[in-house]
């Protein structure tokens, strides 16, 4: 075992997209059918705004979506 973590429920999720460079922030998880999880990053930040600003910098946000989801910290 290398690593792992427990995600908080989908009700805590926020989805970030930056089509045409204009940021879109929406309540809720990334829930499109026939799409899949393409990867993940773990960032240690103080709040959601900081997490969203990282998500916006992710190249995937411009052609797909980045779901921001907190993880449980024991």
């Amino acid at each position: 075992m290398v690593g792992g973590g427990r995600l908080r429920p989908t009700s805590s999720a926020t989805t970030v997209r930056t089509p045409d460079g204009k940021p879109q922030v929406l309540d809720g998880p990334y829930a499109e059918t026939k799409e899949q999880l393409g990867g993940y990053y773990i960032v240690d930040v103080p709040d959601l705004d900081a997490a969203i600003s990282w998500a916006m910098r992710c190249p995937a946000a411009s052609h797909g979506a980045v779901e921001v989801r907190p993880i449980w910290i024991a």
Binding site: R8, P9, S11, S12, A13, T14, V25, L26, D27, G28, P46, D47, L48, D49, A51, I52, V68, P70, W72, I73, A74
Partner: protein, 420 residues
């Protein structure tokens, strides 16, 4: 007498609740991000006050008393509920409480604006932002908010709980947004403030203290936002709009309590001071070079109240302003008002034609002002039968008994003047 002090304690508690509720919630929630826990702790504190104050007298600073009790309740709840996860928060709270005790002046800082930005964060579902602000800043229960937003109390309760959980679990911050996001974020805040004001304004007789208070709280929040963000023209515009509306509160009913439409109101019953203040704000906003919805709506109010000086509303300006507003919002409600203005500038037939162009919008079938406007214009073009039918639709859709009586009288008057 115990009965008397009981009554006094209750009144004081209620007065403090009205004035300080949001401030206390904001202060507690900003430190834990747990709005529900802050509300629960406060409601416990208010309950404790109603037991303690009649017996031991009302404390010199009721707000500080409530804060001390609420903090204690909050710490108890944190200790009970989340022993592992909440340990760090808990310790910080304890430290802060000690700090507050050490500070001799128990002055509670006003962090309502931060709470407002948290409630209207883009990660919160749009439709729940205004209700959430009404609950956290003004302390309204889910049932009251539900009735204003036309959903069931259970649904509203669930959505509010979900939004508060989101704030806590997703880590939505309690602070001012960055400069780049401010405009958009502020718009959500203004929208929610206006929703609160409109709810209070819809009770012109002022029979329900809490609703009347809502209009005052709306203006208060508007003033707070403009004092903290003095260079935001739309915040100034919204405050001007609310002050204009408030200035005419007394004139909306005559001595017998009957409804008086704007065109028939006595300008001497309008509150000159509020109108002057609104005009000053609007002029200040207009120098900032960025027109928006609230400034346009306030300017329309302003064009109506010139009647107090010139004897007539500036209908040409009103039509132009509604044109601009209609282009900006695409709202059918704005379009109805524009049709009424057209009836004044180009005659009732032209107004009616403008209204006819909207008839396809299904939303208007259930909208009282559409039918009342239609009835009024049909009456003026001599189509008595059509006017009667439209008045009946309007009467059936209106819930306010005084407005309904007004519409009924207009409807009866159609035949009275025609056949007599």
């Amino acid at each position: 007498m115990p009965g008397e002090s009981d009554q006094q304690a209750r009144e004081t508690a209620e007065a403090v609740a009205r004035r300080s509720y949001g401030k206390l919630v904001a202060f507690l929630a900003a430190r834990t991000r747990d709005v529900t826990a802050a509300e629960d702790a406060l409601s416990d504190a208010f309950a404790a006050a109603l037991v303690d104050w009649p017996e031991r007298g009302i404390p010199t600073s009721p707000e500080a008393w409530l804060m001390t009790v609420a903090r204690r309740k909050l710490i108890d709840a944190v200790r009970r509920r989340r022993s592992g996860e909440g340990a760090a928060d808990h310790l910080r709270l304890v430290a802060e409480e000690l700090e507050a005790v050490v500070a001799s002046k128990p002055q509670i800082p006003d962090e309502r604006l931060s709470l407002m930005f948290a409630c209207t964060h883009p990660a919160i579902e749009r439709g729940i932002r205004a209700p959430l602000m009404l609950q956290t800043i003004l302390g309204f229960d889910a049932a009251t908010i539900a009735s204003a937003f036309l959903v069931s109390p259970a649904t509203m309760g669930q959505r509010l709980t979900r939004a508060k959980n989101k704030i806590r679990q997703a880590g939505i911050p309690f602070r001012m947004p960055e400069r780049a996001d401010l405009c958009e974020r502020l718009d959500s805040v203004l929208e929610a403030i206006y929703a609160a004001f409109a709810e209070g304004w819809s009770d012109p007789a002022g029979t329900e203290t809490r609703r009347r208070n809502l209009a005052e709280e709306g203006m208060w929040l508007g003033r707070l936002v403009t004092s903290l963000l003095p260079d935001e023209p739309e915040a100034l515009g919204l405050l001007a709009l609310m002050l204009h509306a408030e200035a005419r509160r007394a004139a909306r009913r005559n001595a017998q309590g009957e409804y008086v439409p704007l065109a028939e109101q006595d300008p001497s019953a309008w509150d000159t001071q509020l109108i002057e203040e609104a005009e000053t704000l609007l002029v200040r906003a207009s120098t900032m070079g960025s027109v928006g919805r609230y400034q346009l709506e306030a300017a329309i109010q302003s064009a109506h109240v010139v009647r107090r000086r010139t004897g007539a509303a500036d209908w040409a300006a009103i039509e132009q302003l509604y044109d601009a507003l209609s282009a900006m919002t695409g709202s059918p409600v704005v379009a109805i008002n524009r049709a009424i203005a057209v009836a004044e500038t180009r005659g009732p037939a032209a107004g009616l034609a403008t209204l006819d162009a909207l008839a396809d919008d299904a939303r208007l079938a259930e909208y009282q002002p559409y039918w009342a406007a239609r009835a009024g214009l049909l009456a003026r073009t001599g189509e008595v039968e059509g006017a009667e039918q439209a008045y009946q639709r309007a009467i059936g859709l209106e819930s306010d008994p005084t407005v309904r009586r007004f519409l009924e009288q207009r409807c009866w008057g159609l035949r009275g003047s025609g056949s007599a």
